[in-house]
């Protein structure tokens, strides 16, 4: 098992779902159950934290990116409010 912090949200949630399934199936040794429980709670905390604190990151294709092999990215700077409604 890798450190929780190294997981993506999706991986963490998938592991949590699988772990709960294993737990629900029963027939676990106490040792294993306690391990799963502790890991599960870590994953819950991590997932919640991700959802609570994540800030949407926005970047845009660099102006020359439209033709390049692997397009470069630049920070997104919202242009001045525009009259265009679209």
């Amino acid at each position: 098992m890798s450190e929780v912090e190294h997981l993506t949200f999706e991986q963490a949630l998938a592991e949590l779902e699988q772990l709960v399934q294993e737990m629900e199936a029963g027939n676990l040794e106490l040792e294993r159950a306690l391990q799963l429980f502790e890991r599960g709670m870590q994953l819950v905390r991590y997932c919640n934290e991700q959802l609570d604190t994540a800030e949407l990151r926005v970047r845009q294709l660099a102006p020359d990116a439209l033709s390049g092999e692997e397009p470069g990215l630049t920070p997104f700077e919202p242009s001045a409010p525009s009259e265009e409604p679209w």
Binding site: L16, M23, A33, R57, V58, L66, G68, S82, P85, W86
Partner: protein
Amino acid sequence: MSEQLALFPTQDEEGLPRIFTVSEVTQRIRVWLEADRVLQDLWLVGEVSNWRQSPAGHIYFTLKDEQATLRCVLWRSNAHQVGYLPSGDGETVLAHGYISVYDPQGVYQLYVDELQPLGLGSWYVRFEELKRRLEAEGLFARPRRPLPRFPQRIGVVTSPSGAVLRDILNVLRRRYPLAEVILAPTLVQGEDAPPQIVRALQAIARVPGVDVVILARGGGSIEDLWAFNDERVARAIAASPLPVVCGVGHETDFTIADFVADVRAPTPSAAAELVTPDRAELQRHIQALRRTLAVACFDLITRLRRRLEAEKRALRQLSPRVTLQRQRQHVDELALTIVRALRYELALRRERLSGLHHRLEVLNPAATLARGYAIVRRQDDRRVVMRVAQVSSGDRLHVQVSDGTFASTVD
């Protein structure tokens, strides 16, 4: 709508059928018609007939096809602005406007605000022709790529300025801020828009990690949205290696891009919702998982504790003290059994003894003597004489009778 309809109860307070006035019914029909978003903003095609202009400058005509006719009004103020005025009856035109009711005559009609000729170059014909061609080619029926459940990088192809991008970012921020947005800025209107959109779609697919693309534009007239009815754009969407969600214009606007896209969203904001899971829903999901986890763990511990209790009881049953007690009780029981058996045997013997005694009584020879018999023994050896041959003359005999004995001699 439902509130408005509630203004028209069909029964009075006494439960009798409500009597409507003509005005009320007409008003009800108007409410129905005006609640229909399609009927309030539509393009339609038809052949002009009964074209006539009133002295006030308003134009009245009828649009018809093989099966139906529709009354139309073009107010004087709009008549100056429309792109095209037909020269008379028999022409086929495109008309834009809304449907409503003209109360005094009890008719519904189209209130026209735009007219266009249906020549070969008209957008309607071009749209229909392209749609037919691409559909025949199978472009609309190609298998749809599934959207990722948790997008990591969301490509957004739209105008970098304007409300649409802001709306999309707001929705993404609210629903799933874990994702990263890669904006591919492009024109979304005008002649240069289609090639730019194509390039943006191609470029965004080359950015590593992008797993879904939103192609969006705000509402506008059919001309404003025309870039999304462009064949190059349609083919670029179909060729995209990533799933494309198309959110162009309003709910009622359909473009070729909508038909080709993997998912058609009614609006740009709806497109942003379609590509993301909802944060609040995820939080509820995680809470439920957490509860299940805790309950499962608690259950397991309870189960183990119960098993432990059972084992403890079993162990107690096996302890030496219990064995000892059990053996002591066994001994007690055995002792009791023996005593009982002894008593029985004793009683049995006593019974037999008294039986024997009785029989002895019966057999007692004394009783026989009393009846007049005598026991004769030889004097010398005391043997009982039972046959004549046992004695000779002169032998001394001993005779026992019931009350004593006497001696005698054989003659």
